[in-house]
Symmetry: C2
Subunit: 122 residues, 2 copies
DNA sequence: CCGCATCCGTTACGATACTG
DNA sequence: CAGTATCGTAACGGATGCGG
Protein backbone atom coordinates (compact mmCIF):
# COMPACT_ATOMS: atom_id res chain seq x y z
CA UNK A 1 0.00 0.00 0.00
CA UNK A 2 0.87 3.64 -0.24
CA UNK A 3 3.82 4.91 1.69
CA UNK A 4 2.13 8.25 2.12
CA UNK A 5 -1.33 8.54 3.50
CA UNK A 6 -3.62 11.20 4.75
CA UNK A 7 -7.29 10.39 5.10
CA UNK A 8 -7.80 8.01 7.94
CA UNK A 9 -11.28 6.77 7.54
CA UNK A 10 -13.18 6.18 10.75
CA UNK A 11 -15.99 3.77 11.34
CA UNK A 12 -17.83 5.51 14.14
CA UNK A 13 -19.59 2.79 16.06
CA UNK A 14 -22.41 5.02 17.26
CA UNK A 15 -23.41 8.64 17.80
CA UNK A 16 -22.38 8.46 21.48
CA UNK A 17 -19.64 10.95 22.30
CA UNK A 18 -17.91 8.54 24.68
CA UNK A 19 -17.93 5.83 22.05
CA UNK A 20 -16.50 8.25 19.52
CA UNK A 21 -13.73 9.23 21.92
CA UNK A 22 -12.91 5.57 22.34
CA UNK A 23 -13.07 5.01 18.58
CA UNK A 24 -10.12 7.39 18.37
CA UNK A 25 -8.27 7.02 21.68
CA UNK A 26 -9.40 3.60 22.87
CA UNK A 27 -6.12 1.74 22.58
CA UNK A 28 -3.03 1.23 24.67
CA UNK A 29 -0.72 3.74 22.95
CA UNK A 30 -2.40 6.93 21.73
CA UNK A 31 -2.87 8.51 25.13
CA UNK A 32 0.71 7.66 26.10
CA UNK A 33 1.92 9.82 23.23
CA UNK A 34 -0.25 12.60 24.59
CA UNK A 35 1.13 11.94 28.08
CA UNK A 36 4.71 12.32 26.86
CA UNK A 37 3.87 15.59 25.15
CA UNK A 38 2.14 16.94 28.25
CA UNK A 39 5.20 16.00 30.30
CA UNK A 40 7.88 17.26 27.90
CA UNK A 41 6.29 19.86 25.64
CA UNK A 42 7.83 18.53 22.47
CA UNK A 43 9.08 15.08 21.57
CA UNK A 44 10.88 13.57 18.61
CA UNK A 45 10.29 10.14 17.20
CA UNK A 46 13.29 8.64 18.98
CA UNK A 47 12.41 10.35 22.24
CA UNK A 48 8.99 8.67 22.17
CA UNK A 49 10.83 5.41 21.69
CA UNK A 50 12.81 5.98 24.88
CA UNK A 51 9.72 6.01 27.09
CA UNK A 52 9.62 3.05 29.47
CA UNK A 53 6.78 1.29 27.64
CA UNK A 54 8.97 0.86 24.52
CA UNK A 55 6.46 1.24 21.74
CA UNK A 56 7.48 -0.48 18.53
CA UNK A 57 8.33 1.62 15.50
CA UNK A 58 5.40 0.72 13.29
CA UNK A 59 2.82 1.35 16.01
CA UNK A 60 4.44 4.67 16.88
CA UNK A 61 4.53 5.82 13.27
CA UNK A 62 0.91 4.80 12.80
CA UNK A 63 -0.32 6.60 15.92
CA UNK A 64 1.63 9.76 15.15
CA UNK A 65 0.01 9.79 11.71
CA UNK A 66 -3.43 9.17 13.18
CA UNK A 67 -3.15 11.81 15.90
CA UNK A 68 -1.80 14.28 13.38
CA UNK A 69 -4.64 13.65 10.94
CA UNK A 70 -7.13 14.35 13.73
CA UNK A 71 -5.43 17.59 14.72
CA UNK A 72 -4.43 16.33 18.16
CA UNK A 73 -0.68 16.72 17.57
CA UNK A 74 1.40 18.54 14.98
CA UNK A 75 5.00 18.94 13.81
CA UNK A 76 6.93 21.80 15.33
CA UNK A 77 8.37 22.47 11.87
CA UNK A 78 5.58 21.49 9.49
CA UNK A 79 7.51 22.14 6.27
CA UNK A 80 10.84 20.75 7.42
CA UNK A 81 12.31 17.32 6.92
CA UNK A 82 11.33 14.58 9.35
CA UNK A 83 14.75 14.38 10.94
CA UNK A 84 14.73 16.03 14.38
CA UNK A 85 11.29 17.40 13.59
CA UNK A 86 9.50 17.12 16.91
CA UNK A 87 5.81 16.85 17.68
CA UNK A 88 3.75 18.96 20.04
CA UNK A 89 0.14 19.12 21.18
CA UNK A 90 -2.45 21.24 19.46
CA UNK A 91 -5.19 22.81 21.61
CA UNK A 92 -7.22 19.66 20.98
CA UNK A 93 -4.42 17.49 22.34
CA UNK A 94 -3.76 19.77 25.29
CA UNK A 95 -7.46 19.48 26.16
CA UNK A 96 -6.91 15.77 26.84
CA UNK A 97 -5.05 16.57 30.04
CA UNK A 98 -8.12 16.14 32.29
CA UNK A 99 -8.76 12.74 30.75
CA UNK A 100 -5.23 11.63 31.63
CA UNK A 101 -5.46 13.11 35.09
CA UNK A 102 -8.66 11.24 35.86
CA UNK A 103 -7.22 7.97 34.57
CA UNK A 104 -4.12 8.48 36.70
CA UNK A 105 -6.09 9.28 39.83
CA UNK A 106 -8.37 6.29 39.36
CA UNK A 107 -5.44 3.94 38.79
CA UNK A 108 -3.63 5.11 41.88
CA UNK A 109 -6.71 4.55 43.98
CA UNK A 110 -8.11 1.33 42.57
CA UNK A 111 -5.27 -0.43 40.76
CA UNK A 112 -2.55 -0.22 43.37
CA UNK A 113 -3.71 -3.45 45.00
CA UNK A 114 -2.95 -5.25 41.73
CA UNK A 115 0.24 -3.37 40.89
CA UNK A 116 2.02 -2.41 44.06
CA UNK A 117 4.97 -0.45 42.71
CA UNK A 118 2.85 1.95 40.71
CA UNK A 119 3.85 5.59 40.81
CA UNK A 120 2.46 9.05 40.06
CA UNK A 121 2.73 10.77 36.73
CA UNK A 122 1.81 13.79 34.61
CA UNK B 1 -9.51 -24.36 27.64
CA UNK B 2 -11.13 -24.07 31.03
CA UNK B 3 -14.73 -23.07 31.18
CA UNK B 4 -14.15 -21.42 34.52
CA UNK B 5 -11.37 -18.92 35.00
CA UNK B 6 -10.34 -16.45 37.59
CA UNK B 7 -6.81 -15.10 37.61
CA UNK B 8 -6.30 -12.69 34.77
CA UNK B 9 -2.59 -12.11 34.64
CA UNK B 10 -1.51 -8.61 33.72
CA UNK B 11 1.69 -7.54 32.08
CA UNK B 12 2.04 -4.04 33.42
CA UNK B 13 4.04 -2.11 30.86
CA UNK B 14 5.51 0.34 33.35
CA UNK B 15 5.05 1.79 36.83
CA UNK B 16 3.21 4.82 35.39
CA UNK B 17 -0.33 5.07 36.73
CA UNK B 18 -1.70 6.29 33.41
CA UNK B 19 -0.08 3.39 31.62
CA UNK B 20 -1.52 0.98 34.16
CA UNK B 21 -4.98 2.43 33.69
CA UNK B 22 -4.61 1.92 29.96
CA UNK B 23 -3.28 -1.60 30.49
CA UNK B 24 -6.69 -2.38 31.98
CA UNK B 25 -9.11 0.00 30.25
CA UNK B 26 -7.25 0.87 27.06
CA UNK B 27 -9.51 -0.80 24.55
CA UNK B 28 -12.70 0.02 22.71
CA UNK B 29 -15.17 -1.92 24.87
CA UNK B 30 -14.40 -1.95 28.60
CA UNK B 31 -15.42 1.64 29.27
CA UNK B 32 -18.62 1.19 27.27
CA UNK B 33 -19.68 -1.49 29.72
CA UNK B 34 -19.03 0.99 32.51
CA UNK B 35 -20.97 3.63 30.60
CA UNK B 36 -24.00 1.37 30.32
CA UNK B 37 -23.91 0.64 34.04
CA UNK B 38 -23.63 4.32 34.90
CA UNK B 39 -26.59 5.01 32.66
CA UNK B 40 -28.81 2.12 33.76
CA UNK B 41 -27.64 1.01 37.20
CA UNK B 42 -27.76 -2.69 36.41
CA UNK B 43 -27.47 -4.53 33.13
CA UNK B 44 -27.81 -8.14 32.06
CA UNK B 45 -25.72 -9.83 29.42
CA UNK B 46 -28.39 -9.48 26.75
CA UNK B 47 -29.05 -5.86 27.68
CA UNK B 48 -25.39 -5.05 27.07
CA UNK B 49 -25.80 -6.69 23.69
CA UNK B 50 -28.63 -4.32 22.82
CA UNK B 51 -26.46 -1.21 23.09
CA UNK B 52 -26.01 0.50 19.73
CA UNK B 53 -22.38 -0.53 19.34
CA UNK B 54 -23.33 -4.22 19.18
CA UNK B 55 -20.47 -5.89 20.98
CA UNK B 56 -19.96 -9.51 19.99
CA UNK B 57 -20.66 -12.24 22.52
CA UNK B 58 -17.14 -13.46 23.07
CA UNK B 59 -15.75 -9.97 23.61
CA UNK B 60 -18.54 -9.12 26.01
CA UNK B 61 -18.08 -12.28 28.05
CA UNK B 62 -14.34 -11.71 28.18
CA UNK B 63 -14.65 -8.10 29.34
CA UNK B 64 -17.27 -8.89 31.94
CA UNK B 65 -14.93 -11.52 33.34
CA UNK B 66 -11.98 -9.12 33.29
CA UNK B 67 -13.83 -6.23 34.92
CA UNK B 68 -15.22 -8.59 37.53
CA UNK B 69 -11.81 -10.00 38.36
CA UNK B 70 -10.52 -6.46 38.88
CA UNK B 71 -13.40 -5.54 41.17
CA UNK B 72 -14.80 -2.93 38.80
CA UNK B 73 -18.17 -4.65 38.34
CA UNK B 74 -19.97 -7.44 40.18
CA UNK B 75 -23.04 -9.67 39.91
CA UNK B 76 -26.16 -8.41 41.61
CA UNK B 77 -26.77 -12.00 42.76
CA UNK B 78 -23.27 -13.42 43.26
CA UNK B 79 -24.38 -16.93 44.20
CA UNK B 80 -27.21 -17.23 41.70
CA UNK B 81 -27.22 -18.77 38.25
CA UNK B 82 -26.04 -16.66 35.33
CA UNK B 83 -29.48 -16.35 33.76
CA UNK B 84 -30.93 -12.91 34.35
CA UNK B 85 -28.15 -12.26 36.84
CA UNK B 86 -27.32 -8.64 36.18
CA UNK B 87 -24.10 -6.70 36.70
CA UNK B 88 -23.58 -3.47 38.57
CA UNK B 89 -20.67 -1.17 39.35
CA UNK B 90 -18.58 -1.54 42.47
CA UNK B 91 -17.20 1.65 44.08
CA UNK B 92 -14.14 1.21 41.86
CA UNK B 93 -16.29 1.15 38.74
CA UNK B 94 -18.44 4.05 39.88
CA UNK B 95 -15.23 6.04 40.34
CA UNK B 96 -14.67 5.86 36.61
CA UNK B 97 -17.46 8.31 35.99
CA UNK B 98 -15.14 11.36 35.81
CA UNK B 99 -13.00 9.57 33.23
CA UNK B 100 -16.05 9.00 31.02
CA UNK B 101 -17.26 12.54 31.55
CA UNK B 102 -13.94 14.00 30.44
CA UNK B 103 -13.80 11.77 27.39
CA UNK B 104 -17.34 12.77 26.47
CA UNK B 105 -16.66 16.49 26.89
CA UNK B 106 -13.48 16.29 24.85
CA UNK B 107 -15.18 14.38 22.05
CA UNK B 108 -18.04 16.83 21.83
CA UNK B 109 -15.61 19.71 21.54
CA UNK B 110 -12.90 18.32 19.31
CA UNK B 111 -14.38 15.38 17.42
CA UNK B 112 -17.60 16.92 16.20
CA UNK B 113 -15.89 18.25 13.07
CA UNK B 114 -15.13 14.66 12.08
CA UNK B 115 -18.42 13.14 13.21
CA UNK B 116 -21.17 15.64 12.79
CA UNK B 117 -24.14 13.74 14.19
CA UNK B 118 -22.50 13.03 17.51
CA UNK B 119 -24.64 13.39 20.59
CA UNK B 120 -24.34 13.74 24.37
CA UNK B 121 -24.29 10.85 26.78
CA UNK B 122 -23.85 9.63 30.37
C1' DC C 1 -34.94 -18.33 25.47
C1' DC C 2 -30.30 -16.57 27.92
C1' DG C 3 -25.54 -16.80 28.77
C1' DC C 4 -22.03 -18.00 27.27
C1' DA C 5 -17.98 -21.16 24.56
C1' DT C 6 -16.14 -22.51 20.19
C1' DC C 7 -14.85 -22.12 15.64
C1' DC C 8 -12.81 -19.42 12.02
C1' DG C 9 -11.70 -15.65 8.90
C1' DT C 10 -9.87 -11.01 9.32
C1' DT C 11 -7.54 -7.32 11.40
C1' DA C 12 -4.29 -5.33 14.75
C1' DC C 13 -0.22 -5.77 17.20
C1' DG C 14 4.81 -6.40 18.21
C1' DA C 15 9.69 -7.59 17.29
C1' DT C 16 13.08 -7.28 14.19
C1' DA C 17 15.42 -6.12 9.95
C1' DC C 18 16.06 -2.90 6.66
C1' DT C 19 16.23 1.73 3.85
C1' DG C 20 16.70 6.85 2.48
C1' DC D 1 17.27 9.39 12.71
C1' DA D 2 12.72 8.48 11.04
C1' DG D 3 10.48 5.72 9.48
C1' DT D 4 8.81 1.16 6.16
C1' DA D 5 8.64 -4.07 5.09
C1' DT D 6 8.05 -8.36 6.73
C1' DC D 7 6.18 -11.88 9.36
C1' DG D 8 4.59 -14.47 13.36
C1' DT D 9 1.24 -13.94 17.07
C1' DA D 10 -2.72 -12.23 19.48
C1' DA D 11 -7.05 -9.89 19.48
C1' DC D 12 -11.24 -9.05 17.31
C1' DG D 13 -15.84 -10.00 15.19
C1' DG D 14 -19.54 -12.75 13.31
C1' DA D 15 -21.83 -17.10 13.18
C1' DT D 16 -23.19 -20.89 15.40
C1' DG D 17 -23.91 -24.42 18.93
C1' DC D 18 -25.25 -25.94 23.34
C1' DG D 19 -26.37 -26.49 28.22
C1' DG D 20 -29.47 -24.78 31.91
Amino acid sequence: MGTESEAYTFDWRSVCSITSGLDVLGDKWSLLIVRDLIAHGTRTYSEFRESPEHVSTNILADRLRLLTSLGIIERTNPDGVARNNAFRLTPSGAALRPVLEEIGKWSQTYLKQFHSNMVDSV
